[in-house]
Symmetry: C2
Subunit: 429 residues, 2 copies
Amino acid sequence: MDSIKLGLAGFGTVGSGLAKILDMNADRIADRLGRRIEVKSVLVRDTAKKRAFDLDPAITLTDDPSVLVNDPDIDIVVELMGGLDTARDLILDAFKAGKHVVTANKHLLAEHGLELFDAARENGVGLLFEASCAGGIPIVQTLKENLAGDEIIKMLGILNGTANYILSEMTTKQLDFQTALADAQDLGYAEADPTFDIEGFDTAHKLCVLIRMAYGMDYPLADIPIQGITSVTPMDIEFAREFGYRIKLLAHVMNVDGRLEAGVHPALVPYTYLLARVGGNYNAVRLEGNAVGPIMLHGQGAGDLPTGSAVLADVMNLARRLDSAPDNTGFCNKPLKQANILPPEQSESKYYFRFTVADRTGVMAAITQAMADHNISIAQAVQKGEAGAEGVPLVIISHETRRKDMEAMIEEIDAMDFTVEPCVKFRIL
Amino acid sequence: MDSIKLGLAGFGTVGSGLAKILDMNADRIADRLGRRIEVKSVLVRDTAKKRAFDLDPAITLTDDPSVLVNDPDIDIVVELMGGLDTARDLILDAFKAGKHVVTANKHLLAEHGLELFDAARENGVGLLFEASCAGGIPIVQTLKENLAGDEIIKMLGILNGTANYILSEMTTKQLDFQTALADAQDLGYAEADPTFDIEGFDTAHKLCVLIRMAYGMDYPLADIPIQGITSVTPMDIEFAREFGYRIKLLAHVMNVDGRLEAGVHPALVPYTYLLARVGGNYNAVRLEGNAVGPIMLHGQGAGDLPTGSAVLADVMNLARRLDSAPDNTGFCNKPLKQANILPPEQSESKYYFRFTVADRTGVMAAITQAMADHNISIAQAVQKGEAGAEGVPLVIISHETRRKDMEAMIEEIDAMDFTVEPCVKFRIL
């Protein structure tokens, strides 16, 4: 049989990773598929730029998207350029030309996924995106196929390797956030502009994609509360450790009596949980189905070869049935419904609060009274350290607390005259 | 569209679990599939027996396999009866009648899998078996689809929940093997005859199935060295802990310069590894692909709903394309090749040795000399405890050792006059 021909858009980390795997594992792939896969054309911004990986001279290098889209030989367009507008136009044009598309672009999927699903359906083609979430971890396929018959009660994910690396370094080496970030940048784990990683946006993009696969519903990105890791201090990590927790940047979604609650935030995870052990730049997803029970998938969430492996899985999946459109949404390609979202003020969680207060008589009484006034029940409290101009930390672990009560309580305490710095709060798993 | 109709053979734990999920998640399943799934007939040994789960009275209960096989309405036969001959005949008859089959029967697959793959291919039908390995953990599909383009360098699995439960209880509660086994039996985790679980046979059946999915090759069950957990004592668990390890019953397969080496054995796992944290009756698989890197999947390896969830995933997979045969082997349904097996005597590992010896001068010298004579290098050694009639334990941790040398050394030392009990040995990860 003829080989499958790819048009590859973007030749950065993941694109060159894919090319390496196609080369290194060519025989294995042919054994699995019964035919070979070859890259026919590569779309890049600058055709003159020197590449880290030497492309076969037979491959066309172009800066014109139409070379990929209009080539009748190309079966599948692989979009690895990132960004929004150009990638979106390329994918829509590829669909119109009857080509299947594989993408790793979580930002694009989060922002324009519904439009892309619709366009793929109208054109009868496939849109697969395993590589968009958690790199080499097969979470998209697991939700779509293996747990197709499960109701997902809850899903938790460590979905950003950069943020997890920074928090791990802060924990194991007692570094502050800025030093850990600078180290991550030196190692190439964090980009020059790390905003998407450390502010939780990248994690939210992935969560948005995974919610669709888990529930067949759209939970708009704008409705996901997002808290990044810039407010986590070595002091919080140390307090959390004393209480038996590790701090992780988590994406979560859960079914609360038929309504969904989702969010991205640093959270205290009991150190006995496997999730607390996810170190360095690894990713993990833990989920609970009403049939399968709890399962956890762990692996490398980024990098040329792990992410390339996920792209290749999608390419091979499409290659097995080029003439039929796969079920892109996992729900018979039906337009996704809107998620029934739990109003954020009704969400409940245990919390970690760190108040920074003047060291004077009555402070603990005033804070605990304010908490009681807002129906917040205290599980543990600790006050420590020397008092200085900068105040003394008072840490309180609460029982289940309604968000609305929590916010009102913080507003009240932050306005008290003994408060030196605004309260820092994290959820507890 | 018409509903998909199942003929269910066997209505024990997994069969009734599947029926419960079909009932509980009926709407979700229909949403995913665009049609409903119903059980039309159930094959049992004794139709008069009282069932824990009430079947819809519209379902035919029969003790005659031909009722399933000859019913033109039945699309998929689900074999959950276990055992070898009857299950094999049923599956072969179902294939001849043009029906797809889903099975959870790892023993049958390990013994007669090649014949079943051939028969499925000849009849152009599907044979899927996600539930045969590690219950609800999607390891079969992950190997077949997500890692389709990866070369698997190494795979390690905790594949038997009963054995893992017993070892976990021995570790956390300092129980001896017999007490932990009896507890497991009381809780229903171990069967009255626990041989398959504790002697490692069940783990070997699963390993045999997973090797085929990982490599597209057959590694005959008879060629897999198998060591169960009956020789593990609380003393070994305690020594292992002192050296920084936990003892787990592991299945392993690795690619050693193009040849495969596989085995089932209790092994010392560094306690910092996630695998060492797999507690209770959980299962886990850790594997390393040359592209994806290391990934680990963790979940419940048994139980009605988790295993039922895996069966349902296969049923839904087949239901999506009833008219075409899936790629059962993951290698274009080609007959599997024979694995090129590393001769067992050439396999290398670090080892834990526990010698039980008389407490007299010169013993340590004689043992360490015998090890040196057989090219076995010592990493750590410890002698402890009071000497008694039953001897004193001497524990040695070796560097990488060739199996042939290891066996010759043990034979020599076991024959020495100070040896009170034969040497106990476990691999070290």
